[in-house]
Amino acid sequence: MPHDALAGTGVTIRTADPSDAVAGVQPKWVALPESTEEVAALLRAAAEHDLAVTPVGGGTKLDWGPPPERCDLLIDLCCMNEILEHAAGDLVVRVQAGTTFESLNQQLSTENQELALDIPVPGTTVGGLLATALSGPRRFRYGTPRDLVIGITVVLADGTTAHSGGKVVKNVAGYDLGKLFTGSYGTLGIITEAAFRLHPLPPTRKWVTATYPTPEQNDSPADYATLIGALVTQLAASQAEPSAIELNWSAVSPGYTMSVLLEGTAAPSRAAAIQHAMTNLEISGIEASSGNNPALGLLSRPEITDNPPEWWGDLPDGGILMEIRVPPGSIGPVLRDVASASMSGHVLRGSAASGVLHLAVPDETHLTAIARLRDQVEGIGGRLVVVSGAGNGVDRWGTIGALDLMKRVKARFDPDRRLSPGRFVGGI
């Protein structure tokens, strides 16, 4: 009996209830392992009895991605929440995958260090942030989880435990499985431990925030989005070195709000330089005047604060959540396309300088507009992915490059398709 085999591992097993459903699919059992060895034992038992498995961390993003084709066993990593080693002098930490990002950074801050990611969903675990490759505003400066993970321990579908990387920042021995597993949505194996490169906590942070009118509020709507795009490009190239450049625009907000983060001992003087640039847009061919830019216009002048605007780093709320990625200099066209799609109730927010934005719309009445927007975004070399909130008929991923290679990787790691089957691109 599968249940006996699972119980035989010695791991706590309980019967699942509707609250354990993964995107609507209720598993039969939930297991609560406390170590990599226990995860391996569970997966061996699951392999023997052909059980389909989905790993879960904080359970905050189980509704992301399509439902699994089948799911017998949910492996909940919440009990694996130990910080195994914080080598402060080496700026490295090793943690179990069930540790929440908040508790990790709380511990690190005692040594004035941090894992320099901004995770938009509270309660996210380290395993969850790796599996979904989440990042936030400061991706502009520090990159995304794949740039900061330096070592990983995973358990494969057949119970094999494998490590790659290590606990040193610089390391090119062997293939980098940490990168491969980051963003794999639990379809290649279960991440049980990870090591990260850390950064010192910056002594000072300053935000510079201004609001610019949207095309409808401006006299020259034609090239307005282009102007905002140019401003983003100019700020991104600023030698004041911002850590993040974020944009927020909702259908009901007064305009485009742009907020720029500066980190470091000299953040105040650098913030002043950014404030100047946000007031006086100087692009060749476009005249600027001191104090206010007639072409761009300002609804509220750039203000320097010690705290971020309240929307900073949050995913927009709404029925359907999408992620739009474009080359970083192509924000202007995205703004124009979203504006012309006139999706009532939309919120567009994200890392303008990195070309990563999230768009939320209330419901599926906008599906046609979304499809058109996807075409436009792909036309400028970008991608639009539906993250959550859409029904099963909706194409979540759009065009996917190298799908054949991805399927071959999946076939090698999980030949029987038992790990989160159907949850990933191209039906992987």
Partner: protein, 477 residues
């Protein structure tokens, strides 16, 4: 050579792009790791991805291995050719295809040198961040294969953090694009650093970084290596991430002095090169602190570069260090290992003990900020047994790195040189799992086989398994 394969290669490539002349083949017999040599079966000099794809498909048809080669500066034998295979050299693929400053990226062919990218955008105030010391010669394709770093990767990261997309020819001969933009597995991240075993990069999209407003380069001289080590720990402990912190010991300084007259302070037991960059105000504040830390740690002289020339002078000794030891020793091994930075003192003491035990001198040059050591193990190949002893010391240094939780290579790669050390760092299960990736890309094991992994492992379910001897086998080479 009158073989079938060369004839078929000439059908898909211009005549002069297929080299079979034994004398010319010898030019390619090794990379920067000169004590591993093999004459390639045939060398091709393609100019397009389509040509590379055609070559790879022929290799599949004939079931012969192929090895990519960029500039041949690799230090782990990654580009060591196969006498029974084809060496695919990218030296005719040197075009910068596009520069797009608004999107901060450039698209280049694989044979473009690392430095050529920076040179193409320097005037506009941009640069390509990863800067291996070999940057004037090494190719970006080689950088991708090795995930190369450089002195400045402490702050800015490695090749993998600066490559946004690739076009590659898969080991099946298909042309595929990988992009950071794509949903799905991070195959881009998996490919970078795979040392030519997952296919050949034919087009590379790199991120261009904005040049910092200010750069301050300083040289601090210490009487002992411990003093330098203390300074490094204190700088990191103060929450400063310099662009680079490099250290050289007395023997490395002596060599650099003999080779390039770098005129580092006399009597230094160690020198530290620290470079700070960023917004002017930030750099000024950090410089004051680093200066204070170095003096407290016992620096007896600190020089600060006041001009680009002075900066180059400070870097000159460090950048020439590998070649410079040739002036003080007839032969040497360049080692590349990593330890957690805090273990540097113990590991350096361990290297001292090895020097005494084996009577072999070791000059130490290292990227101190990230614990990446480049011990240069000196020997005289005319003295019987010394080469073997040097080889032993070199291996023992890697054991030390592993013992302290580090790695057998920080940037030079595994290649042929270190594949035998892989089992000391990884379990069989780890290596088998990495093989799953290789098998997904290269089921027939023809793409740079024999590199990285200690023993060839079969992938299972190899298509078109042959029972009969291959029809071409007899006449192939």
């Amino acid at each position: 050579m009158t073989d079938l394969l060369a004839g078929r290669l000439r059908e898909v490539l211009p005549d002069e792009a297929v080299i079979t002349d034994p004398v010319r083949l010898r030019t390619y017999e090794c990379d920067g790791l000169t004590y591993h040599r093999a004459t390639p079966g045939v060398v091709v000099l393609p100019e397009t991805a389509e040509q590379i794809a055609a070559v790879v498909r022929l290799c599949q048809e004939f079931r012969v291995p192929f090895v990519a080669r960029g500039s041949g500066t690799g230090l782990s034998g990654g580009a060591l050719p196969r006498s029974d295979g084809v060496l695919i050299v990218t030296s005719r693929m040197r075009r910068v295809l596009s520069i797009d400053l608004a999107n901060r990226r450039a698209v280049v062919e694989p044979g473009v040198t690392n430095l050529a990218i920076t040179e193409a955008v320097r005037e506009a105030g941009y640069y390509y961040a990863p800067d291996p010391s070999s940057q004037q010669i090494c190719s970006i394709g080689g950088n991708v294969a090795e995930n190369s770093g450089g002195a400045h990767c402490l702050k800015y990261g490695f090749t993998v953090n600066h490559v946004l997309g690739l076009e590659l020819v898969t080991p099946d001969g298909d042309i595929v694009e990988l992009s950071e933009m794509d949903a799905g597995y991070d195959l881009l991240g998996a490919f970078i650093g795979s040392e030519g075993t997952l296919g050949i990069a034919t087009k590379i999209t790199v991120r261009l970084s904005r040049a910092p407003a200010a750069v301050t380069t300083m040289l601090a001289a210490f009487t002992t290596i411990e003093g330098g080590g203390r300074a490094v720990s204190a700088i990191i402990g103060a929450g400063i991430v310099p662009a680079a912190i490099e250290m050289m010991d007395a023997l490395a300084i002596e060599a650099a002095e003999a080779a390039v007259r770098c005129e580092y302070p006399a009597g230094a037991g160690a020198v530290l090169v620290v470079e700070l960059d960023g917004p002017e105000a930030e750099v000024d504040l950090q410089f004051a602190e680093v200066d204070r830390i170095c003096r407290e740690a016992g620096a007896f002289e600190i020089r600060v570069a006041a001009s680009a020339e002075e900066r180059a002078a400070i870097w000159k000794g460090r950048k020439s260090a590998f070649a410079a030891v040739g002036r003080i020793s007839p032969a040497y091994i360049v080692q590349d290992g990593v330890v957690p930075r805090t273990a540097l003192p113990e590991v350096l003491a361990g290297i001292d003990r090895l020097q005494e035990e084996f009577g072999i001198r070791v000059a130490n040059v290292f990227h101190a900020g990230d614990g990446n050591l480049h011990p240069l193990v000196l020997f005289d190949d005319a003295v019987a047994g010394e080469g073997e002893r040097a080889e032993l010391v070199s291996g023992r240094i890697l054991d030390l790195c592993i013992e302290y939780g580090g790695s057998i290579t920080g940037e030079h790669g595994v290649g042929v040189d270190k594949s035998r050390y892989m089992p000391r760092m990884f379990t069989d299960e780890d290596l088998d799992t990495m093989q799953l990736v290789r098998c997904a890309f290269d089921v027939g094991n023809l793409s740079n086989p024999g590199k990285v992994f200690p023993t060839p492992r079969l992938c299972g379910e190899i298509p078109r398994v042959r029972k009969e001897p291959h029809p071409y086998e007899a006449e192939l080479f």
